[in-house]
């Protein structure tokens, strides 16, 4: 019943001209997303901790009532998502069409467009198949529907032409693994250096910040 409580809160506000507040992020991520997840914007996570960071970024909003659609990421660890705090009962997992033909890319984009209509949060795996024009259209749609697009670049070791123009780009490099030794212990958390860039990030903030993952709730 937590859900109805939070919803009635958001429904009480007028749905028209007034901009709804940004979706919340965990306090531990305030260093990289000081304004939370601003509606209409897109965030790209890349680097070796891209998936973990993306899960941490959407978890707080998912917990507090937003619906999440995950596109791609077939190998996503759902248990890890749950541990990070994502509400799986409000999460839908979408598998992209298998073939790489132009028509399947079209269907894929039609699907993303349909999801923007109903889900506040979209977690989308970036693949090289996405044409730049379609990516721009999707971002415009996200902007119009006041949703939040979180992009995950799983395989960002080799540089590729950027398809999306994210508002915030978070590039991760793991600095330290904590809890594991030589033959004892186990991984408890990791310290990740996050470099921020993108069109909505002022150049003064481009220095790398340290973030702990999984993000403490």
């Amino acid at each position: 019943m937590r859900l109805t409580g939070t919803l009635s809160g958001s429904l009480a506000e007028p749905a028209t001209a007034v901009e709804r507040p940004a979706l919340a992020v965990f306090e531990s991520l305030a260093a990289v997303l000081p304004d939370g997840l601003v509606r209409g914007r897109s965030v790209l996570c890349s680097g070796d901790a891209a998936v973990s960071l993306a899960l941490a970024v959407v978890a707080c909003a998912s917990r507090s009532g937003s619906w999440l659609a995950v596109f791609g990421l077939g190998d996503l660890g759902l248990l890890a998502a749950h541990e990070q705090g994502i509400a799986l009962e409000r999460t839908v997992l979408v598998t992209p069409p298998a073939s790489a033909s132009a028509s399947s890319a079209g269907t894929w984009f039609a699907a993303l467009g349909a999801a923007v209509e109903g889900f506040e949060l979209l977690l989308v795996e970036v693949s090289s198949r996405i044409p730049a024009g379609e990516a721009r259209k999707l971002q415009q749609r996200v902007l119009a529907r006041r949703a939040v697009l979180v992009l995950v670049d799983v395989d960002s070791r080799h540089a590729r032409q950027p398809v999306f123009q994210p508002d915030v780009l978070l590039h991760t490099v793991t600095a330290r693994w904590c809890g594991i030794g030589d033959g004892h212990g186990h991984v408890r958390e990791r310290e990740v250096m996050v470099e921020m860039s993108g069109r909505r990030v002022p150049a003064t903030q481009h220095a790398a910040r340290c973030v702990t993952l999984p993000a403490p709730r």
Binding site: T4, S8, D75, R90, T91, V94, A111, A114, E117, G183
Partner: protein
């Protein structure tokens, strides 16, 4: 329920004491039979099988029952009772698909059969009985029709004809593998009164807790239940009390309503061009269902049974009545349209595109508090998300859109199953959190890797001298792991932990699994944390802390 309506209903009861005369065709343990038939179609023959629902045996084959397997047992208890038992998870889709030929066979004689759960068929006898020459002849004919659908493995079923659904089902159940039982007109109530209250759980979906409570209150038979005044039951149990009292009297669970059905509204759709795409037909059916339900909700009624009629361009048509005692919601109606379409395509009688879809509510009842309107009141967001999910499923196919369901186990890749959205009620399930109900001993320590490879990558784990690390039966490693070779690259091991043994299903020689897991940090800037699993002599990277 408003006052006026309930008064109307009571009057309706008085005027319509006699229940409709129906025939029931019952296949006990249908999920198990469906499983056997499916296996048989693949050339496998298994006599002792059981189907699990929520980790308990929901149905088992006759031979398994002889061996001591009972419904409600846990998996291990069942396997202890019968060592070579094949245990498979419940699959409503399979039950329905395998049941389809039976429904088709019966509907060749009676076009409008009522389909509820797979495993039971109910049909009104008035027309058919007159056609074949009496109830006994009808029972025989029904048995013959079913027998003609094949006997591999042999089907066990019973036919019962009586006044009202419940008595017909009880009669059918008592007539399994025997000639059909016909209860003569007017005798049903008397016979029903002698039945134990447990039949309510078996055939009418009343909860086990309710039955157990009745028994503890000293109500053992339906006769005892009828002897109690309805208003007393209503006072004690609310609408459920009224329902069981009605059922015990041999009536249908919900009183028929006397308020005139609301004028039909947008329940028929004609296409100028025949539609050949199944998804489009279903999407269209869904839109109609949403409108129909909105209309019904506005009139404070819900639809208990619905006649779906589909017509093809060459004049072929498919007619079916769908029944759901709790009322059919928009989503449920859309599902039924899909089932009927699939069955029709499968039967190969559809030779062209669809030109007409018609939804006609056959039986309506006043909405009780349980009918939660259109999509359940979980807010605007949920409603929009559910609609978007449906749109996604119609675009990409129902298998491409999934939700997580807790399954458990030690393997992070298997902890949550990905179930198709077509099989769940999204809005409803959003009310309860999807969480692990317990932590399995031997599961990976938290945090769990964010990336689990469904197709693991082969690696070599080597010690200082370049020898492959092996792990003894006592979980001792042959050396200190120094580096791994993965995809042709050598990566130094910075830290490691393990080995952690995993032992699963040790009681089952075929599905027994023994493995050893290890956590390693490899490489330096960038470093990578992996879970390596040694199984059957092969090391593989099964998960990554991405």
């Amino acid at each position: 329920m408003p006052h006026g309506v309930s008064r109307c209903l009571r009057r309706a009861d008085m005027s319509r004491v006699a229940a409709t005369r129906v025939a029931a065709l019952v296949f006990p343990d249908w999920p198990a039979v469906a499983l056997q038939r499916e296996l048989a179609s693949r050339g496998e023959r298994h006599d002792v099988v059981a189907v699990l629902r929520a980790q308990r045996v929901a149905a088992c084959s006759a031979l398994a029952r002889v061996a001591g397997v009972r419904t409600g047992m846990r998996r291990r208890e069942a396997q202890a009772a019968c060592a070579d038992l094949i245990v498979v998870a419940d699959n409503p889709e399979r039950d329905r698909l395998v049941f389809e030929p039976v429904v088709r066979a019966v509907s060749e004689m009676v076009p409008l059969v009522e389909v509820g759960d797979p495993g039971t068929v109910v049909l009104p006898t008035r027309g058919p009985s007159r056609y074949v020459g009496g109830d006994t002849a009808l029972a025989e004919r029904l048995r013959a029709l079913v027998a003609a659908t094949g006997d591999e493995p042999p089907l066990h079923y019973g036919v019962g004809i009586a006044d009202g659904r419940l008595m017909a089902m009880v009669a059918a159940m008592s007539a399994v593998d025997k000639p059909g039982v016909v209860v003569s007109v007017g005798h049903s109530a008397e016979l029903l009164a002698r039945q134990a209250v447990a039949v309510l759980a078996l055939h009418a979906g009343v909860s086990i807790e309710m039955i157990s409570l009745l028994q503890r209150l000293g109500v053992y038979t339906l006769g005892d239940l009828v002897a109690i005044e309805e208003k007393l039951l209503a006072a004690r149990f609310g609408s459920l009390g009224v329902e069981v009292h009605r059922l015990a009297r041999g009536l249908d669970r919900h009183p028929p309503i006397v308020v005139a059905p609301p004028p039909n509204h947008a329940t028929e759709q004609h296409f100028e061009h025949p539609v050949e795409d199944l998804h489009r037909v279903v999407a269209c059916g869904r839109e109609m269902a949403v409108e129909l339900c909105a209309h019904l909700v506005a009139h404070a009624v819900s639809c208990v049974s619905l006649h779906i009629s589909l017509q093809g361009d060459h004049g072929e048509h498919s007619e079916r009545v769908w029944y759901e005692s709790d009322g059919l919601g928009a989503e449920a109606i859309a599902e039924r349209v899909r089932w009927q379409m699939e069955a029709w395509v499968r039967s190969r009688t559809l030779t062209s595109g669809v030109v007409v879809i018609r939804l006609v509510p056959v039986e309506l009842r006043a909405s009780s508090g349980r009918q939660l309107g259109l999509w359940d009141p979980f807010g605007e967001q949920a409603e929009m998300a559910v609609k978007a999910a449906q749109r996604l499923a119609s675009l990409l196919g129902p298998e491409a859109v999934r939700v997580a369901e807790w399954r458990g186990g030690r393997d992070p890749a298997e902890a949550f199953a990905r179930t198709s959205v077509a099989l769940v009620d999204l809005a409803h399930r959003a009310a309860t959190a999807v969480t692990p109900d317990r932590r399995f001993v031997g599961a990976l320590p938290s945090p769990t890797p964010a990336y689990v490879h469904h197709q693991p990558v082969d690696v070599q784990v080597l010690d200082t001298d370049g020898r492959v690390i092996v792990v003894s039966g006592r979980h001792e490693m042959s050396g200190t792991p120094k580096y791994i070779v993965m995809g042709g690259n050598e990566l130094d091991i910075m830290s490691w932990s393990g080995p952690w043994p995993v032992e699963e299903r040790w009681w089952d020689p075929q599905r027994h699994r023994r493995a050893v897991r290890m956590q390693v940090i490899v490489g330096e800037s960038p470093s990578m944390a992996l879970v390596l699993t040694l199984e059957q002599g092969r090391w593989r990277a099964t998960a990554r802390y991405a």
